[in-house]
């Protein structure tokens, strides 16, 4: 055998190369035989082995034994089954990869299932709400609904109105600031449950330039805070509170229960 052409592993396989005419199922063996097929030494080995096999075939088989072995193969090749396929390392690896990809897609899908235009800005403002950084605010003690006039008169912010559900909440203070993504944002602190209200421009569709309003409440969550968002006249209002949506539920149903 020309050892330069065959690896040590292939040389070992060639030493065990079958001589029957059937296709070789073992891929490594098939590759080794393919590489060695033109070698003079391999041809001699094959003819040697074939001559021995032919001689063995002439061994007389007793009739009683021949009856048992007349029609069956000496050894049945394993059948393909799902169970065997599932134990194949390649199948297992592909299965795990598919599961991970599916899980990532499922998580992303679940996260964005309830997304709406402006939800990204709302989440960012929830981060602002939970931030411990001190900010300069105007100490205004009034009802939240009364601040829309202040926003219009002082900051020229039109339709920055607190919805009726939260309009009679007593405020602690407010401020107006520019956010890189959300634009001009009005932030209001109220006494009730240390809630914060945010008013910010609705996100417009990039193609149509329209920001369709929605009067039902939509929720966003971010790091332990929850926001209930409503959009009217192109302006989003968000009531933000620490905790989950149940913290806000009593206020959102208030009008309906009256």
């Amino acid at each position: 055998m020309k050892t330069a052409r065959l690896s040590r592993r292939q040389q070992l396989l060639i030493a065990c190369a079958p001589v029957n005419e059937q296709p070789i199922a073992d891929r490594n063996m098939r590759a080794a035989v393919f590489r060695a097929r033109d070698s003079e030494e391999f041809k001699i080995q094959q003819s040697f082995d074939r001559a021995v096999v032919d001689l063995v075939q002439t061994v007389p088989v007793p009739s009683a034994v021949a009856e048992w072995l007349s029609s069956e193969k000496a050894i049945e090749q394993p059948k393909w089954t799902w169970k065997r396929a599932a134990k194949n390392p390649a199948v297992v690896a592909v299965g795990i990869a598919v599961l991970v990809i599916a899980a990532v897609f499922a998580i992303q899908f679940a996260e964005h299932l309830h997304d709406f235009p402006g939800s990204a800005h709302a989440r960012k403002l929830l981060s602002v709400a939970r931030s411990p950084r001190s900010v300069l605010l105007d100490p205004v003690r009034t009802e939240a609904g009364a601040l829309s006039d202040l926003f219009f008169m002082k900051h020229n912010l039109e339709h920055y109105e607190v919805p009726p559900e939260f309009a009679d909440f007593q405020t602690l203070g407010c401020r107006v600031f520019d956010d890189e993504e959300a634009g001009r944002v009005a932030q209001i602190w109220v006494v009730e449950k240390h809630m914060q209200f945010f008013l910010f421009p609705a996100e417009r569709d990039t193609k149509t330039g329209i920001a369709p309003d929605f009067s039902n409440w939509r929720f966003v969550e971010q790091e332990g805070w929850t926001g209930a968002v409503q959009q009217r006249h192109g302006v989003c209002f968000m009531a933000a509170v620490r905790g989950d949506a149940t913290q806000l539920a009593p206020y959102l149903n208030k009008l309906h229960s009256h």
């Binding site: 070992l12 396989l13 073992d26 040697f48 001559a51 009683a64 034994v65 048992w68």
Partner: protein
């Protein structure tokens, strides 16, 4: 494996009887190579009770292109005696390999060998068999 057709038939029947009994009691072996492992084990038991081949270092020759012609001049009984006289596990390896019915994986499983062990045993046996052929049926030298 045994170099004796009568003993081989006894082992064959005993093995089938064992398989039938297991099947009847619902203990049919799941291992598809079980029959051959069982037969091999019984052959080893039988051969241990008989005459033991001497442990001799056989000469080796390089395989010859004329080997098929030499082999064709052999009587099959001579081949059976030569193989059955080989030490274990070489004997099992040769018997299974030259039956031409088993793939490498099956031979490794039945003979409880690794690929490199099987390769070494077969290569060694070829060389030894060639030397024996050369001694028994010398090639006619052309001068």
């Amino acid at each position: 494996m045994l170099g004796d057709a009568e003993k081989a038939e006894e082992v064959f029947e005993a093995t089938l009887r064992e398989a039938a009994q297991r099947a009847a009691t619902g203990e049919a072996p799941a291992d598809r190579c079980w029959l051959f492992r069982e037969a091999r084990g019984r052959c080893l038991e039988v051969s241990e009770r008989g005459l033991q081949a001497e442990d001799v270092d056989h000469a080796q020759d390089e395989l010859s292109a004329a080997a098929p012609d030499q082999i064709r001049r052999l009587d099959v009984a001579q081949l059976a005696i030569w193989i059955s006289g080989a030490p274990e596990p070489q004997r099992t390896a040769l018997a299974l390999f030259y039956l031409g019915e088993f793939c490498r994986a099956d031979i490794l499983k039945i003979a409880e060998l690794k690929t490199h062990e099987l390769a070494d045993l077969l290569s060694l046996a070829r060389g030894q068999f060639q030397a024996w052929l050369d001694a028994s049926f010398p090639l006619e030298r052309t001068s």
